[in-house]
């Protein structure tokens, strides 16, 4: 009964999405206030019904209702409650429902906080969000209904993939989706602007906090995914340039370019059409990412074709959204002209470089990600693009980007004089290089060119960020949220760079065969396997190793890596034993029984790896603080919009 209620709620919410789109867009076009109000009510109704549907599916999982196909495929009676809830979004159908819920939530938030916008524009934004919603709900109802019944009901479920039975991965999809879907708001704002054919500073000011919020969630989502891959996949890597990872990283790069370009559009009225194009791109890549990961196209291009309904719908939807937005752009964007100029060393110009490098990296990553799919689809052979390609094409634009970042933060708008900042920046740069050289030599005992560059860039970016705060404190200037957010996020970029450089330069990974009592030395640490025992978990059995780590005879820690066998299926799972440290992680993963009492183990020494994720969290925190800046608050925006309108009227 409950699943049928969920199904019915989904149908109702589709109908409401249709009325949201029709009444909002129609009302805006005809200037009909009643229609526009009806469109807004539909947003509320849609949110309620999607929530009911989501609740119904969650209830089916919690109650272990194996008469629902999706529940039977993705859970098991022994699965703990937390993971039964997380299993709701563990596969294709449920994650589409989660996507819809996120979209309904963002739509509701936009509707609630947009009272200061002029009515037709507000309605157009809501209408476009409605159009996206129609696409998703139609897709779910036509091809991927999560409430489909299984007749006869299964007596036991197949279980959630053991890899997904983990806290970080349980919360990873919702946060990632809040980011993906959040870009729909920027997208809707861009399309509404194109429909109206005018763009002013108030528009950019309006879009910024929403984009920053979405970008913040996406940052946290990606960091969680990377952290999970590190400790749960069992191999100690933190980024694999896997298509699934690239699918979330590409919208992040576009979003990063967008928040920087928006700054220029708000402050100086420049880059208008470029900003709109980026808003369209960020959301298009989010859509592409969702489908790449969830449609099975990555597993096989041809599997895609074996379920033609899904494949054709996805392609049609992507073409409609991306193509429609680009057509609108081609038609209307030429109207948006930026007249002002700027000097080569002004902040605008640094932000232009930022965008150029980010988009270059994005394009090259997109090429590497999609190329194998095209080759395969055209029957030109099966290829994959190796991580070294991605590392190279990402690294090359990032080096100048980070170098310029440190200067750009201190540059003034419009005019190109760094003035007193010049001496300060030169001393920070000199200090960064000297410290990088000394630290490399003193801590790690050697100086390598690329490592030194990495450390120096990290210190340069961190130092330059801190200098902003120092200067403002000394000259008693206020530090508004936007500036504080920028400083924290850029400091985070530096910290992540430090971590990436450290771990990529000095990590040590070694596979060894050890019997109980044997030891191996990795990175100056002695790892001794002292015991092996059986452990009983809630829904698995495990062999647990005890690995005592010591350095120069002094005990450091004891690691407990496990090899788990889940009761529901025959798959083994590696749970790594990790000792977290400020300077390094020590990592042990248990492999197989090799015979003669020996077990295979993977031992790793990972210097500075924590700072990759700590930096990412600071980046997200910075985004959040900037989004909450006072000047984005409703009253302030409304006042400025009035001033801007008056100014515009005055110039005509």
């Amino acid at each position: 009964m409950i699943p049928e209620i969920g199904h019915f709620a989904l149908v109702l919410s589709l109908l409401l999405a249709i009325s949201q789109a029709v009444f909002s867009l129609g009302g805006a076009a005809r200037g009909h206030t009643g229609w526009m109000a009806a469109g807004r009510s539909a947003v509320v109704g849609q949110f309620v019904f999607v929530t009911v549907a989501f609740g119904a599916l969650t209830y089916a999982f919690v109650q272990r209702d194996f008469s629902v196909l999706y529940v039977a495929t993705n859970s098991n009676s022994q699965l703990p409650l937390l993971f039964r809830v997380a299993a709701v979004w563990g596969a294709h159908e449920g994650s589409l429902l989660l996507w819809s819920l996120c979209l309904a939530g963002w739509s509701l938030a936009v509707t609630a906080f947009s009272t200061s916008l002029d009515a037709p524009f507000r309605s157009r934004v809501i209408g476009i969000l409605g159009l996206i919603s129609i696409g998703f709900q139609l897709f779910m109802l036509m091809t991927s209904n999560p409430f489909e019944r299984l007749v006869p009901a299964a007596s036991e479920g197949q279980d959630l993939n053991p890899l997904l039975q983990d806290f970080a991965l349980a919360i990873h999809p919702p946060i990632l989706y809040l980011g993906y879907v959040g870009f729909a708001v920027a997208f809707a704002f861009a399309c509404a602007t194109l429909l109206e054919g005018r763009l002013d500073a108030a528009w950019a000011r309006w879009t910024r906090p929403w984009t920053l919020a979405a970008w913040m969630f996406l940052t946290v989502g990606i960091a969680l995914g990377s952290w999970w891959a590190y400790y749960e996949l069992g191999w100690g890597g933190w980024w694999f340039w896997d298509p699934v990872e690239n699918a979330s990283f590409m919208p992040w790069l576009a979003g990063t370019a967008l928040i920087h370009s928006l700054a220029v559009t708000e402050k100086r009225g420049l880059f208008k059409s470029w900003t709109l194009l980026l808003a369209v791109t960020a959301f298009s890549l989010s859509l592409l990412g969702t489908f790449l990961v969830r449609s099975g196209v990555l597993i096989s291009v041809h599997a895609f074709a074996t379920d033609p309904a899904r494949g054709i719908f996805i392609l049609g939807f992507l073409v409609a959204v991306i193509g429609g937005a680009l057509l609108l752009y081609a038609w209307r964007a030429p109207r948006l002209k930026s007249a002002a100029g700027f000097e080569i060393t002004s902040r605008e110009s640094f932000l232009l470089f930022n965008n150029a490098f980010l988009v270059a990296a994005l394009g090259l990553i997109l090429l590497g990600t999609l190329y194998p799919l095209f080759m395969d689809a055209l029957e030109l052979g099966k290829v994959s693009v190796g991580p070294p390609y991605f590392e190279l094409v990402f690294l090359v634009p990032m080096l100048p980007l980070l170098t310029l970042l440190g200067v750009g933060m201190h540059a003034a708008w419009k005019r190109g004089l760094l003035g007193s900042a010049r001496t300060r920046l030169l001393s920070i740069a000199a200090a960064a290089i000297v410290i990088a050289l000394i630290a490399g030599a003193a801590v790690y005992g050697e100086i390598r060119p690329l490592t030194t560059i990495g450390f120096a860039l990290a210190l340069w970016v961190m130092g330059s960020s801190l200098a902003i705060v120092v200067v403002r404190l000394r000259t008693r200037l206020p530090i508004p949220g936007a500036v504080l957010g920028m400083v924290i996020a850029h400091f985070g970029i530096g910290l992540s760079t430090l971590g990436i450089t450290g771990v990529q330069s000095f990590k040590i990974e070694q596979d060894v065969a050890l019997a109980v009592g044997d030891a191996a030395t990795v990175g100056g640490y002695d790892f001794r396997l002292t015991a092996l025992k059986d452990v009983q978990g809630p829904n698995y059995l495990a062999v647990e190793g005890e690995v005592v780590v010591s350095r120069n005879g002094e005990p450091v820690t004891t690691l407990h890596p496990q090899k788990r066998l889940y009761n529901s299926g025959g798959n083994a799972m590696t749970e790594a034993g990790i000792e977290v440290g400020a300077g390094r992680d020590l990592f042990a993963a248990l492999g197989d029984d090799l015979g003669q009492g020996r077990w295979s183990l993977r031992l790793q020494y990972k210097p500075l790896i924590r700072y990759i994720w700590l930096g990412a969290l600071l980046i997200a925190l910075g985004g959040g603080i900037a989004a909450l800046d006072r000047r984005y608050r409703r009253s302030v925006v409304a006042r400025d919009a009035v001033t801007a309108a008056a100014a515009a009227a005055g110039t005509q």
């Binding site: 993939n161 069992g234 597993i299 096989s300 041809h302 599997a303 150029a356 270059a360 090259l364 090429l367 590497g368 190329y371 052979g381 099966k382 290829v383 994959s384 693009v385 190796g386 991580p387 070294p388 390609y389 190279l392 094409v393 090359v396 596979d511 060894v512 065969a513 019997a515 299926g569 025959g570 798959n571 083994a572 799972m573 590696t574 993963a589 492999g591 197989d592 090799l594 015979g595 003669q596 009492g597 020996r598 295979s600 993977r602």
Partner: protein, 146 residues
């Protein structure tokens, strides 16, 4: 500097940048494209010698041999027409199993053995890597001689 010269410089910079990026991408691409071959193609001599590539197929039942107490393993990858022996030293992935699909990355020796530096089995218990599934296509595993 006149606006005209400025514009000229900007155009040169953009063209140069794009050219550099394209050159970089092409070079990096050439070096890092990994081709996939099934055992039949390998035995027919289609796979490159002296260059790494990926081989995929099913792990033949009963073919897994360990050198006792060490990390050295040897197994046979088959597409049910031809078979290629694979040598590997290291940890096998959790999902590695005889009779299951596998992809190995490495190179071919002159003796016709594949030396893997990485073994992947990224799938669940029912799943076959798509390359493997397709290379087996006319002959589903159910009809296999096991």
């Amino acid at each position: 500097m006149t606006p005209r010269r400025k514009r000229l410089l900007a155009v040169i910079a953009i063209v140069g940048g794009v050219a550099a990026a394209t050159a970089l991408a092409t070079l990096a691409f050439q070096d890092n494209l990994l081709y996939f071959y099934n055992p039949t193609q390998v035995m027919a001599g289609e796979a490159p010698s002296g260059r790494t590539f990926r081989i995929g197929g099913m792990v033949t039942q009963g073919s897994l041999q360990r050198t006792e107490g060490t990390l050295k393993v040897r197994f046979v990858v088959t597409d049910y027409k031809e078979s290629v022996p694979v040598n590997y030293e290291g940890l096998l992935p959790d999902l590695f199993r005889e009779g299951q699909g596998v992809i190995a990355h490495g190179r071919l020796t002159d003796a016709g053995e594949f030396v893997a530096d990485e073994v992947l089995a990224k799938h669940d218990e029912n799943y076959m890597p798509p390359e493997v599934a397709e290379s087996l296509h006319p002959q589903p595993p159910a009809e296999s001689p096991q």
